[in-house]
């Protein structure tokens, strides 16, 4: 074994950042204060590398929870940028701050008592009509959602379109932080998704008899027998169960006694 191989390799474990040999450090400015952090590191990890411990502004660390919304500018460039700290690599001379929370009122409602209409939207979120079509919401979305498009759809009462366009929303609140019309986009969008799914998409009628059967106790005895089975007979049942094929158009199992 060569000397190089014998040398203990220093590697990062878990999620704790280290500075490997030969890595270039770049300056970033956390709330205006300069820190040197390794290039290719995410903003989130570079804050930890700099010595911060998160209580807020950190959640799934995988780009889906919306906890780490971040705003930044690069020195010398007037553009304001928006991102998720866990999904964005640091850049040299980045001036950043995080937005752990942004106030937005949510109107309580009873889903059962609403209908999927423009009137519902106007009643619960009347401020949506104040949209000035500046498109700042869309530009500030770290998920690349067409926010203004769905706000326009909401103004027209096109709830299905709001639901479709807002589907990837992680409710980080950056849109509402920037809106000159003070719209509370992500709450409006959540309302529309629920209205759409409940009242505009046909209900899964095939579920109703299954639910009724379960509640009537149809499967209780079958399941009890399985619970009481010994492992050997259970293995046999497992191995012998009929497999639904990948392309199962019109497929039916031969044994229907346990359906």
């Amino acid at each position: 074994m060569s000397e190089a191989q014998k040398k203990e390799i220093k590697v990062a474990t878990g999620d704790r950042a280290i500075l490997p040999e030969g890595t270039r450090l770049v300056p970033i400015f956390i709330m205006g204060k300069r820190y040197l952090v390794p290039e290719t590191m995410t903003i989130q990890k570079s804050l930890e590398y700099a010595g911060y411990q998160f209580i807020r502004s950190c959640g799934c660390r995988g780009g889906i929870c919306g906890a780490c919304a971040t705003v930044y500018r690069i020195l010398g460039d007037y553009h304001l940028n928006f991102c998720l700290a866990c999904q964005t690599v640091v850049q040299e001379n980045m001036y950043l701050t995080q937005v752990p929370f942004f106030p937005a009122n949510r109107t309580p409602y009873k889903l059962e008592e609403l209908d999927a209409s423009a009137e519902t939207i106007m009643k619960l979120y009347p401020e949506v009509m104040k949209c000035v079509a500046c498109n700042t919401c869309t530009k500030s979305c770290p998920m690349d959602i067409e926010v203004m498009e769905y706000v326009n759809a909401a103004m027209r009462g096109d709830i299905a379109k709001v639901a479709r366009l807002s589907f990837d929303c992680i409710q980080c609140g950056l849109c509402s932080s920037r809106c000159p019309a003070q719209i509370q986009h992500f709450h409006l969008a959540q309302l529309c998704r629920r209205l759409h799914a409940k009242y505009q998409v046909p209900r899964a009628e095939h579920l109703q008899p299954r639910v009724a059967d379960i509640n009537a106790g149809k499967y209780d005895e079958m399941l009890k027998n399985l619970v009481d089975n010994d492992e050997e007979s259970l293995r046999k049942l497992y191995v012998e169960r009929e497999m639904e094929p990948q392309n199962s158009e019109g497929w039916e199992p031969q044994d229907k006694s346990f359906l």
Binding site: I9, V11, A12, T13, G14, D15, R16, A17, I18, L19, P20, T23, P38, T40, M41, T42, Q53, F54, I55, C58, G59, C60, R61, G62, I64, C65, A67, Q87, V89, R106, K110, L111, F167, C169, Q171, Q190, R193, R194, H196, A197, K198, V201, P202, A204, H206, L207, R210, V211, I214, Y219, M222, L223, L226, V227, L234, R235, Y238, E244, W251, L259
Partner: protein, 559 residues
């Protein structure tokens, strides 16, 4: 962006060996799979679940003698953050309620909703934001025998087979029985399920299913469920009070030994406070952020096993905590994707695993645990891993082979989400390989529960990843979102029923069980300065900690 020049230089070795590997693959000459004995050998030596090193027996508490990962035993064998007498606990009491739910993910929120529907006033307390949980990270779907060709009977068989028949049968029966009820419940709450035009649920197969019963909401099913549950809980704010950034640090009991709520730490003001409750539900999720044996994880920031620690001190035994699910191909580069999953489909489509020399070192379709072990061996024992600029190690997963084997455009067509995930960082996985390393994915075990979600401690319930038994030693895809909703609902309903039948009052709340636990630790000769629950993982660099001359850490949290 993209790979560094040094890494691109190394990729040339992968490219150099690729034509020969492709030629072999086309001739059907796969890399020799391991024999059963060979598998066992590599598992024993390198798989975190099998290796003797890194595991030890817990020497105190209701599961004394059981062997678990050392990182987990460490938090079980740590001291409480504090001991407070009854008089002080009375003074600290800030809330009184019927049902206290600890944890704000899918299980906790389901429990809160069902407890409320069954007549209880609820406090839901969570140490991060409501909804910060592994629930939002579940992509694949949720199982449920909703179709005519399927039934809970077949779902039961699939779950047992997947868990190697080690599962707790009553829990599996509850899971498969309630699954269609949960699907219907979520539909009625306005979840955007993937449906056919007539409203019929679109269903797919998952690994180990004999019938198609995987329901989905795009590729963000968990996030979609969490958004709806949280939204509904907020609609019921009159009955459901949510306390965020409030971390439960101990279960409390009354003079009769019943669970009586919990002691909390306000993470922002650093005050302690008490929530008195007739019934308490632990729904705090798993332990991915303990980074068992240093593994990266797919888990969210708060997954530090807090509920397991405080439930264990309260007297609840553990089930299946010896078993952890590792996924062989987690991302090792770029840094922002580290730990995230790369679907097994990549290997299914023929991509080889290759070391720093460009040599294939394992058959790409070994079982998950074997594949993981071989990658670990290549990187750590043989030293043939690739080191990243952020100091991680990994092996190449040669995705460009796929287009050559299956035709141009296959990568983009079959792996659209992965393609986008990498192209965002300047890495085109149809042209250059991915760097991968196993990642800690799921805690198979947890607190022992009955099918009602009740524990052996009166008034204490548990649900979701914090509980154990339903998945046995291996969980199938699509059963974690189901687990949290089924047992979350059962916990909420059981807790509310318990409250209705509750007699007497919560007198003499105390931490006597914690004091006894400390005594037991002393008796077992455990001397430690460690404190648990951890509350948060500590990611502060050693170089920083060396200069934090007046800082100390309680668990993972600075104090």
């Amino acid at each position: 962006m993209g790979y560094t020049p040094e890494m691109l230089e190394l990729i040339k070795k992968v490219e150099a060996s690729r034509p020969e590997r492709i030629a072999r693959s086309k001739k059907g000459m796969d890399f020799e799979p391991l024999s059963l004995a060979g598998r066992q050998e590599v598992l024993n030596k390198f798989h975190p679940d099998y290796k003797k090193e890194g595991r030890r027996a817990v020497s105190v508490g209701p599961s004394k003698g059981e062997v678990y990962p050392s990182e987990f035993v460490n938090v079980l064998e740590s001291k409480a953050r504090l001991l407070v007498d009854s008089a002080e606990l009375e003074k600290l009491t800030a809330f009184e309620t019927d049902v206290l739910v600890i944890g704000g993910g899918g299980a906790g929120t389901s429990a809160a909703l069902l407890a409320q529907e069954n007549g209880s006033k609820v406090i839901l307390a969570t140490k991060l934001r409501h909804g910060d949980a592994n629930t939002v990270m579940a992509e694949g779907g949720i199982q449920g025998a909703s179709q005519e060709v399927d039934s809970p009977y077949y779902h039961y068989l699939d779950v047992m087979g997947g868990g190697h028949f080690t599962n707790t049968p009553e829990l599996v029966a509850a899971l498969s029985h309630d699954a269609p009820l949960v699907i219907e419940w979520l539909e009625s709450l306005g979840l955007m399920f993937d449906k056919q035009p007539d409203g019929r649920m679109r269903v797919r197969h998952g690994g180990g299913t004999c019938r198609k019963r995987m329901h989905s909401s795009g590729d963000i099913t968990g996030s979609a469920i969490m958004r709806v549950l949280k939204d509904e809980a907020r609609n019921r704010a009159e009955d459901i009070t949510v306390l965020e950034f409030s971390s439960a640090v101990e279960i409390l009991k009354d003079a009769k030994g019943r669970a009586a709520g919990a002691l909390f730490f306000n993470m922002e003001t650093e005050e302690y406070f008490v929530v008195k409750a007739k019934a308490t539900v632990i729904a705090t999720g798993g332990y991915g952020r303990l980074h068992i044996q240093g593994f990266a994880t797919t888990n969210h920031y708060g997954a530090t096993a807090d509920g397991l620690v405080i439930g264990y001190r309260a007297g609840v035994p553990l089930a299946f905590m010896h078993s952890t699910q590792y996924h062989p191909t987690g991302v090792a580069f770029p840094e922002q994707n580290v730990g995230l999953l790369i679907t097994e489909k990549v290997r299914g489509l023929g991509a080889n695993l290759v070391n720093i020399e460009g040599e294939q070192f394992v058959f790409e379709r070994e079982p998950r645990d074997v594949e993981s072990s071989c990658i670990i061996r290549e990187c750590l024992e043989r030293g043939k891993g690739i080191i990243t600029p952020t100091g991680r190690v990994g092996a190449w997963l040669d995705s460009p082979m796929i287009d050559e084997l299956e035709g141009p455009g296959t990568v983009k067509k079959e792996l659209p989400a992965k393609y986008i995930q990498f192209i965002r960082y300047g890495i085109d996985i149809s042209k250059v390989p991915m760097l991968v390393y196993p990642t800690l994915h799921y805690q198979n075990g947890g607190l022992t529960i009955k099918d009602s979600s009740a524990t052996n401690v009166e008034g204490l319930f548990a649900a979701g990843e914090a509980s154990g038994g339903v998945h046995g030693e291996n969980r199938l895809m699509g059963n974690s979102l189901l687990d949290i909703t089924v047992f979350g609902r059962r916990a909420g309903k059981s807790a509310a029923e318990y409250v209705k039948a509750f007699s007497g009052s919560l007198d003499g709340i105390n931490m006597d069980h914690v004091e006894s636990f400390h005594k037991e630790m002393e008796g077992a000769g455990i001397e430690t300065d460690l404190v648990s629950p951890l509350i948060l993982p500590n990611y502060t660099r050693e170089e920083t900690m060396e200069k934090q001359l007046t800082t100390h850490y309680q668990g993972g949290l600075r104090a």
